[in-house]
C-alpha cells in the first residue's frame, strides 16, 4: 500500500532537466571545461565524469587547457544562443527556467548532440559567470 503523503516531485522529469538543474550549481570553470569535451559523449553525466578525472590530474588533459578551449567554444556560439533565447526568463522556479531555455535552444541549434545541448543551456543560464571567466586571460587560447 502506498502512502500518498510521499508523493514526490518531478520523478518523471527528463534526464536533461535533472542533470541540467544540478549542473547549474557547478562553478563556471567546470562548466566551460565540460563544454570543451562535450563532443566526446552523448551523455552529460559521462562528460562531467571525464572533467572530474581531469580535475584530479587524470585523462592526460589539464583543466586550464579545457577551460580555455571551452571559453573559445563559448565565445563562438554565444550569439547563436542569444538568438535562440532572445528573452531569457529569470524565475525562482529553476526547473521551469531550465525547461524553457533548453526547449528554446534545442529548437534553434539542431545540429548539436544531447550532451552539448545540456551544457550550452547550463552555460547560457549561467552566462554572467561564464562571460566573466571566458574574458579572463586564462579563458583565452
Amino acid at each position: 500500500m502506498s502512502d500518498t503523503r510521499f508523493t514526490l516531485p518531478a520523478i518523471d522529469a527528463p534526464a536533461s532537466t535533472e542533470a541540467g538543474v544540478m549542473l547549474l550549481g557547478l562553478d563556471p570553470e567546470r562548466l566551460l571545461a565540460c563544454l570543451a569535451v562535450v563532443t566526446m559523449a552523448d551523455d552529460p553525466g559521462q562528460v562531467a565524469m571525464l572533467v572530474d578525472q581531469v580535475r584530479h590530474g587524470g585523462a592526460h588533459l589539464t583543466m586550464p587547457d579545457l577551460v580555455a578551449a571551452g571559453a573559445q567554444r563559448w565565445r563562438a556560439i554565444r550569439s547563436d544562443l542569444a538568438d535562440a533565447d532572445p528573452n531569457p526568463m529569470v524565475s525562482a522556479a529553476i526547473r521551469q527556467t531550465w525547461d524553457r531555455a533548453y526547449t528554446a535552444i534545442a529548437a534553434e541549434l539542431t545540429d548539436v548532440g544531447p550532451a552539448c545541448l545540456v551544457y550550452l543551456t547550463a552555460c547560457w543560464l549561467r552566462r554572467a559567470d561564464i562571460d566573466a571567466v571566458a574574458a579572463l586571460p586564462g579563458g583565452e587560447l
Binding site: 500500500m1 502506498s2 502512502d3 503523503r5 510521499f6 514526490l8 516531485p9 518531478a10 520523478i11 518523471d12 522529469a13 534526464a15 535533472e18 542533470a19 544540478m22 562553478d27 566526446m40 559523449a41 551523455d43 552529460p44 553525466g45 559521462q46 562531467a48 565524469m49 571525464l50 572530474d52 578525472q53 580535475r55 584530479h56 590530474g57 587524470g58 585523462a59 592526460h60
Partner: protein
C-alpha cells in the same frame, strides 16, 4: 504527521546496468611486481580503503600503495552483496567513500547525473533523500560511484593483488609482508573490514556467504540480521520452505543498523563522554542484529501462510547436517542449514604483534584523535575496529568517512606534505 510505510518494492533495484565507463579507463597493475617501498600502504581496498586513498590524494599524499586480496577496489564488498542478492544499501545517500570538502562529486549528484538509467522507484528514493526522509541506495549506483571514485583518485592503478601476512615494525619504518613480497612503508592503514563470525566448533552447515545447494527444498537459517533476511527472501522466492531461528524473543526491524544519532557528531560525543564500561554497554545495546523494515511485509506474509516458520526465543544448542537442536529441546529440520551469525571486526590481530594491538575486550588500543595504535602511531585502522572510539557507526560507511578524515590528516601532517588543495584545519593540530 509523516508516516513511514515500509514498501518491499524498495528492495528491488536492477543490478549490472551498463553505466558509462570513464572515457580514459584506469589500468590495474596486473602482472607488475609489487612495489618495494611506499610512504603509505593501505591494507584492503574496500570502501574504507577507497575513502582513505581518496582523502590522502587530496591532502597531497600520493606515494600510496593499496594491497588487496582481490586486487580490485571494492570487489569483495560487492561480491558478498551480490552473493546475497542484495539490491539496496540501507545507508543514506550521504554515506559514501567520496571525499568531503574538495567539491568532488557526491553520491547523490552522481545518481542524479545518471537520471535516465534509474527506475521510477530509484528516482523516488533520491527525492526522499533530498527531502530529508529515510532512503535507501541502489547497490548498482553505489558500485558505479565507487568505480568513479577509484578512477579519479588513481586508486585502481595503485591497487595490487596480494594477501598481507604481517605488518612488522622495524627501527626506521614498517615492513608489510605479503604472499608476493614485502613493502617497506612509513605508515600503514589497516582497512580490512570484517570477517564472517564462525559457527561454534562442531556445528555443521553452510554460511551466509556460501551458496545454498540447488537440491535443498527447505532451509534452516540461524541468525537475526540483514543477511538472514536476504537468505530467507531468496529461499522463499525459489519456492523453498524456510525455518528461521532467532535467539531473541522477536526479530528486530529498523531502518539503519544502528541508531541514527551515532551517525552525527552529537551521537559520537555521547559515546566519547562515556567510560570504557559505558562504551561496551552502548556497543552491546546498539550493535544488535536487525533487518530492514522493507522485509517486514514479505516475512510476515510468508509466516502467515506457512512458508516461513520462525523459532523465536531459543538459542541453538547444536547443529548437524539437516537439523538444528535448540536449547529448549526442540529440533528444527531442513535440507540445508545456513549460519548468518554476523561478522567480527578485524582489529589487526594476526598481522600486528599482540603488544601493538593491545586488545582489551576484543578492541584495539587506539589514539582517539588519530586512530593510530597507541603502541605504534605509524599504524592506523579504519572501520569496525574503531568502534570503541567512534561508536557503533564506525563500521558503517559514514564511520569510514569520519575515521578517514582523522587518519589522513595525521598522515599528511607527519609526512610534511603541503598540498596545493585545501587542507582541513585539524591537520595543524596533529603535527
Amino acid at each position: 504527521m509523516i508516516k513511514f510505510m515500509p514498501e518491499p518494492r524498495l528492495l528491488e533495484s536492477p543490478r549490472g546496468r551498463d553505466w558509462p565507463r570513464p572515457l580514459t579507463a584506469p589500468t590495474p597493475p596486473t602482472g607488475l611486481p609489487l612495489p618495494t617501498r611506499a610512504n603509505v600502504v593501505i591494507v584492503g581496498a574496500g570502501p574504507a580503503g577507497l575513502a582513505v586513498a581518496g582523502a590522502l590524494w587530496h591532502l597531497g599524499v600520493r606515494d600510496v600503495v593499496l594491497v588487496d586480496r582481490d586486487g580490485r577496489p571494492c570487489h569483495r564488498f560487492f561480491d558478498r552483496i551480490d552473493r546475497l542478492g542484495q539490491r539496496v544499501l540501507r545507508s543514506p545517500y550521504e554515506h559514501h567513500p567520496g571525499v568531503e570538502g574538495y567539491r568532488d562529486c557526491e553520491l547523490l549528484d552522481f545518481a542524479r547525473l545518471h537520471w535516465s538509467r534509474l527506475t521510477h522507484d530509484e528516482r523516488g528514493e533520491i527525492r526522499m533523500a533530498q527531502s530529508g526522509h529515510r532512503s535507501v541506495v541502489p547497490v548498482d549506483v553505489f558500485d558505479a560511484y565507487c568505480r568513479h571514485i577509484a578512477a579519479v583518485h588513481q586508486v585502481t592503478e595503485r591497487t595490487w593483488q596480494a594477501t598481507v601476512t604481517q605488518v612488522h615494525p622495524i627501527r626506521g619504518g614498517l615492513v608489510v609482508g605479503t604472499d608476493r613480497g614485502a613493502i617497506d612503508a612509513r605508515f600503514v592503514v589497516l582497512c580490512q573490514g570484517e570477517e564472517r563470525r564462525q559457527a561454534p566448533a562442531g556445528w555443521q552447515g553452510g554460511h551466509w556467504d556460501e551458496p545454498v545447494p540447488a537440491s535443498a527444498r527447505s532451509v534452516v537459517v540461524v541468525g537475526a540480521g540483514l543477511s538472514s533476511a536476504h537468505i530467507i527472501a531468496d529461499a522463499l522466492a525459489s519456492g523453498r520452505k524456510v525455518h528461521w531461528v532467532v535467539r531473541e524473543t522477536e526479530e528486530r526491524y529498523q531502518c539503519a543498523d544502528v541508531n541514527a544519532s551515532f551517525f552525527r557528531p552529537e551521537g559520537r560525543a555521547k559515546f566519547d563522554a562515556g567510560s570504557w564500561a559505558d562504551r561496551l554497554t552502548l556497543m552491546s545495546r546498539h550493535r544488535r542484529a536487525s533487518v530492514m523494515f522493507e522485509f517486514q511485509p514479505l516475512l510476515r506474509a510468508a509466516e502467515a501462510d506457512g512458508r516461513l516458520t520462525v523459532h523465536r526465543g531459543s538459542a541453538v544448542a547444536d547443529a548437524r547436517i539437516g537439523a538444528v537442536r535448540l536449547a529448549n529441546g526442540e529440533t528444527v529440520v531442513g535440507d540445508h542449514v545456513v549460519f548468518a551469525l554476523g561478522t567480527t571486526p578485524s582489529i589487526g590481530t594476526g598481522l600486528l604483534p599482540a603488544d601493538i594491538v593491545a586488545a582489551r575486550d576484543g578492541w584495539p588500543d587506539l589514539d582517539q584523535r588519530t586512530l593510530a595504535y597507541r603502541a605504534d602511531p605509524r599504524v592506523f585502522v579504519v572501520g569496525a575496529a574503531a568502534c570503541m572510539v567512534l561508536g557503533p557507526a564506525a563500521r558503517n560507511i559514514d564511520g569510514h568517512r569520519v575515521a578517514t578524515a582523522r587518519v589522513a590528516a595525521a598522515i599528511a601532517a607527519r609526512s610534511g606534505v603541503t598540498a596545493g588543495t585545501r587542507r582541513p584545519l585539524e591537520v595543524g593540530a596533529l603535527v
